[in-house]
């Protein structure tokens, strides 16, 4: 039986910049550990990740009052042939006086139909523009598909029945396993409360790939 010693190429000091479709020795540390990069990090480095946000530091937005199923504050959509993989969602309320506060991040197999257009921001600064589209308009002014438990996936949810008090009003979602939005479809964020909408900042991130690269 042939026995082979497996080697890596130590390459810590001068990172390489090999061209596409070129075979190169796998990178190793000075100690000989093999260097790998995970799927999510590589997708971000390949300029395939985008952010959608709402509310700037001096101007939080105000959420919906009593969320109804067709209303969202933010969304991102892909057409047939594209796939969107939500990777992150952050929400922070800086005023929350209503009750029955709710935040939901969901995916569904149809695109939004109304709301102020938001151009997805590449997370690689200077990166390529998204093929996906997005919207951001507070107070539930983005129109999305009906939230039906039989068709709409809930990616993340946060709720509290009482006004802000001695509990955290910031929430972060990072997937253990991602939802896969095979276009046409999209993701959306709903934020609301009874009587008075909360004031908040929010952002979500996603990877965009051609469906052919997955399925």
């Amino acid at each position: 039986m042939a026995i082979a010693e497996i080697q890596v190429r130590v390459n810590q000091d001068a990172p390489r910049a090999a061209g596409e479709e070129i075979y190169i020795d796998i990178k190793g540390s000075k100690r000989g550990e093999m260097c790998v990069v995970d799927f999510f990090t590589q997708m971000y480095l390949e300029q395939r990740a985008y952010s959608v946000r709402i509310g700037s530091v001096s101007a939080p937005v105000t959420s919906d009052v009593a969320i109804t199923t067709l209303e969202a504050d933010m969304c991102a959509d892909v057409v047939n042939g594209l796939t969107l993989i939500p990777t992150y969602f952050n929400f922070a309320a800086n005023l929350m006086t209503g009750t029955a506060n709710e935040v939901g991040f969901k995916s569904v197999g149809s695109a939004s139909t109304a709301g102020t257009v938001f151009v997805p921001v590449p997370l690689y600064v200077g990166g390529v523009a998204a093929l996906s589209t997005a919207r951001a308009q507070a107070t539930g002014n983005c129109t999305v598909a009906d939230d039906a438990v039989t068709t709409t996936r809930e990616i993340a949810a946060w709720a509290n029945g009482i006004a802000a008090g001695a509990y955290a009003t910031t929430y972060v979602y990072k997937p253990r396993l991602p939802h896969i939005v095979n276009g046409a479809g999209g993701v959306y964020v709903q934020v609301g409360a009874t009587t008075t909408g909360c004031q908040y900042f929010a952002a979500f991130e996603y990877i965009e790939l051609r469906t052919a690269n997955i399925d």
Partner: protein, 218 residues
């Protein structure tokens, strides 16, 4: 002894779409790191992850009043030959005015059939993905009967949250994500219980699981 240096193929700009059962060169970054994908992400991309959810945005469900042994809000059952791996569970209350709140996720080997009024078709996390072979049930106020009393020697407790007072200075949202999944096979059942005394909490909840044929595991 032969010496071999592992090589990767740089492939950042135009991702490949290699057909099943064909060899593909190991993908590498421009810097030479080997690109890898974790088990959970790959399972989702292969359309093997499903969701069971309770409560839509305008219609939260109401939990049980005093959880009793075999009463659950949500459950999923693995038919023979299938293995389920529960991997995330998220719940939140948007009304919790009673006391003695409890939320739990458990699993048990099959002993008796689940009794239910509402079957739930599991949602593939891959939109447009294949249908589940597993069966799920959702019914508020403890409407899913898992068929047998909780037995400390049979029922696995994956997650338990409790709070004795009404909503106040504490979070009413939580997410369970185990470091590694339990494997439920041979008609095993995973179930969620949510309740309180006097008045059940209004809640939204989801749990996700991987579905694989048992022969792929053992």
């Amino acid at each position: 002894m032969a010496v071999e240096t592992l090589r990767v193929k740089v492939n950042q700009d135009v991702p490949r779409s290699v057909d099943e059962d064909n060899p593909a060169d190991w993908k590498g970054s421009k810097r030479g790191e080997g690109c890898v994908i974790d088990f959970y992400t790959q399972m989702a991309l292969e359309q093997r992850v499903f969701q069971v959810r309770a409560g839509s945005v305008s219609a939260p469900l109401v939990g049980d009043v005093l959880i009793t042994d075999q009463k659950a809000e949500m459950a999923v059952e693995a038919p023979s030959g299938l293995t389920l791996m529960p991997i995330t569970f998220n719940w939140c209350f948007n009304l919790s005015a009673a006391t003695l709140f409890e939320v739990a996720l458990k699993s048990r080997p099959w002993t008796t059939a689940i009794t239910f009024t509402t079957q739930f078709t599991p949602l593939n996390l891959y939109i447009g993905g294949v249908g589940a072979l597993s069966r799920a049930y959702v019914d508020a106020a403890g409407g899913v009967d898992v068929g047998a009393n909780e037995d400390l020697t049979l029922d696995r407790l994956h997650y338990h949250w409790a709070q004795p007072i009404a909503a106040g200075a504490y979070r009413t949202t939580d997410t369970w994500e185990p470091i590694a999944p339990s494997a439920l096979n041979n008609r095993a059942i995973a179930y969620v219980q949510i309740g309180a005394d006097t008045t059940g909490p209004s809640y939204f909840a989801t749990f996700q699981y991987i579905e694989l044929l048992t022969v792929h595991l053992s």
